[in-house]
Symmetry: C2
DNA sequence: TACTATATGGAATGAAAATTCCATAGTCTG
DNA sequence: CAGACTATGGAATTTTCATTCCATATAGTA
């Protein structure tokens, strides 16, 4: 009945998907329709019944069975097993992982618990960042930084690793920056060379370092545009900045992650460098 | 028939689990058995049939139906829906997420693609770290650092943000460190004060900064124990170090993440500080 | 255009599943 | 210890589901 079925049908979702895509065009019209639906709604395929799926895909129940058979499976149920296996392999979601962390904390070494805790906090922070960031704002910040003659990187104490990373990475990519560290009030002088053609990237989290705020104020006074990365709308940087990102880092036992900030920093660095190189090319 | 069912039964897995746990003890013996099985085998509950689950849980099929009804559901199928919803909500696994990134790259802004790429790379790096790390090794490194009189933090160029983060965090936690930056060959002098009672934490990735290697060699000569964080068994640090961590950072378009290294750094910092404070307390 | 092969819709069928029912066992109470 | 109530196992029943079948439509070919 089926053209191919050399006993080695896909049993995992990835290869099944590949098979469906490959065979899709040589299948009859209605079965192509099923193929499309299957690839686009794998969850539904895993849990639905022939009748419910048929209704949603707008085909007859028999079409589903035929589809499965034309791929070489015994019937729909056989095919459905593969879609179900996909869900079994899925990664746990955050709530579950957190729960699991707590459940297994007893039988693990203290250091492993800490590692797991920070891993979770970091992953969660990154996921939140991705979900909450405003695309337009990201675009605006990149444009501002890409247009700047010199980027002044302001980040002290806890934020210093981030700004020093950006200084290093920008340097590698040929973008001119100035890493402002505020040792003994020398910092202000640095920024006092900045003009409206430059840009300040200020990073600060609670408790906001007073030097960072002072530097940002000096920049505002000189009409230097500011991109800020901070953690709250009430941050002093929020009102000073031309545009600003709110980053919520998850914490483990009170120690905040820095993963989201670092990820955003990497993004800005590469995006700005990329923007500059394409612009220069023209 | 059922005691409670005020039309607001759990429809999500988290609250269902809470309900089951809460009601478990007041249920009859066989139904408690079902409750236990359900909580411990949620996947099976989602995919199995009444017959198959009953067999695995070693109860009669009717017990499953009764269990569902005693919680307030119409029947087993009704309850099973909740277990299924849990799997639907699960996070995609890495392969799928990567695939999805590529699929949706067209209809997104370039900057979003970069952010997604780095987010993915960071999450993956952290997951790998957690999976591959050796607990005993982690313990050993923490012990070494906790016992040191002074911790010398050696990390240059790309690794400098990490060591500077640790310097900051250790400082906050009252652990004495020395951040070694190799400006103009001054570094060596720093390490030349170190003794066997201290410890060097060296961080370096390809291409290994020659200064970091030189510092590590100087430390070896003075019999100072070394904990290293690097990316390959062929790293010059691997052979010099007393113990070392291999970290594989995922990359996006050739730009390596730093999330795993940062997560390990946070772990070491907090674990060492914690170890010291408990020891001091005795 | 006629013929043939293939595809499709929809009802019929048979299998499998969930649910109910009932007889019996067990437990609690007076 | 008797009686009443609850719990349990397992068979009977009903519902739901996947699959097959067949009449009709569609497309391809001579």
């Amino acid at each position: 009945m089926s053209e191919i079925s050399p006993s080695e049908l896909p049993r995992d979702f990835a290869s099944l998907k590949a098979l469906i895509v490959a065979r899709a065009e040589e299948l009859p019209r209605r079965l192509t329709q099923v193929a499309t639906y299957a690839v686009e709604n794998p969850d539904e395929m895993a849990f639905g019944t022939v009748a419910s799926i048929a209704q949603n895909a707008d085909v007859q129940p028999s079409a589903l069975v035929r589809f499965a058979q034309s791929l070489g499976y015994q019937g729909f149920s056989d095919l459905q097993e593969v879609f179900r296996s996909r869900l079994r392999e899925r990664v746990l979601n955050y709530d579950e992982r957190l729960q699991q962390l707590q459940d297994h904390a007893k039988d693990k070494s203290k250091s492993s618990v800490i590692l797991d805790g920070f891993s979770e906090a970091s992953s969660k922070s990154i996921a939140d960042l991705r979900q909450h960031i405003d695309e337009n704002q990201l675009e605006q910040a990149i444009a501002m930084l890409a247009n700047a003659e010199t980027i002044y990187l302001v980040g002290l104490r806890r934020s210093f690793p981030i700004s020093s990373y950006m200084a290093y990475a920008f340097g590698k990519l040929g973008v001119r920056t100035r890493l402002v560290d505020a040792v003994g009030g020398l910092a202000q002088e640095d920024v006092s060379f900045a003009t409206a053609k430059d840009c300040v990237l200020a990073i600060s989290f609670t408790p906001y370092a007073s030097e960072t705020v002072a530097l940002a104020q000096a920049a505002v006074a000189r009409k230097v545009p500011i991109v800020a990365i901070t953690d709250s709308p009430f941050s002093p940087l929020a009102s000073l900045a031309t545009t600003w990102f709110e980053i919520q880092e998850a914490n483990f036992e009170g120690f905040r992650s820095m993963a989201a900030t670092l990820t955003l920093a990497m993004t800005l660095t590469v995006a700005v460098a990329e923007r500059r190189s394409t612009r220069k090319g023209k």
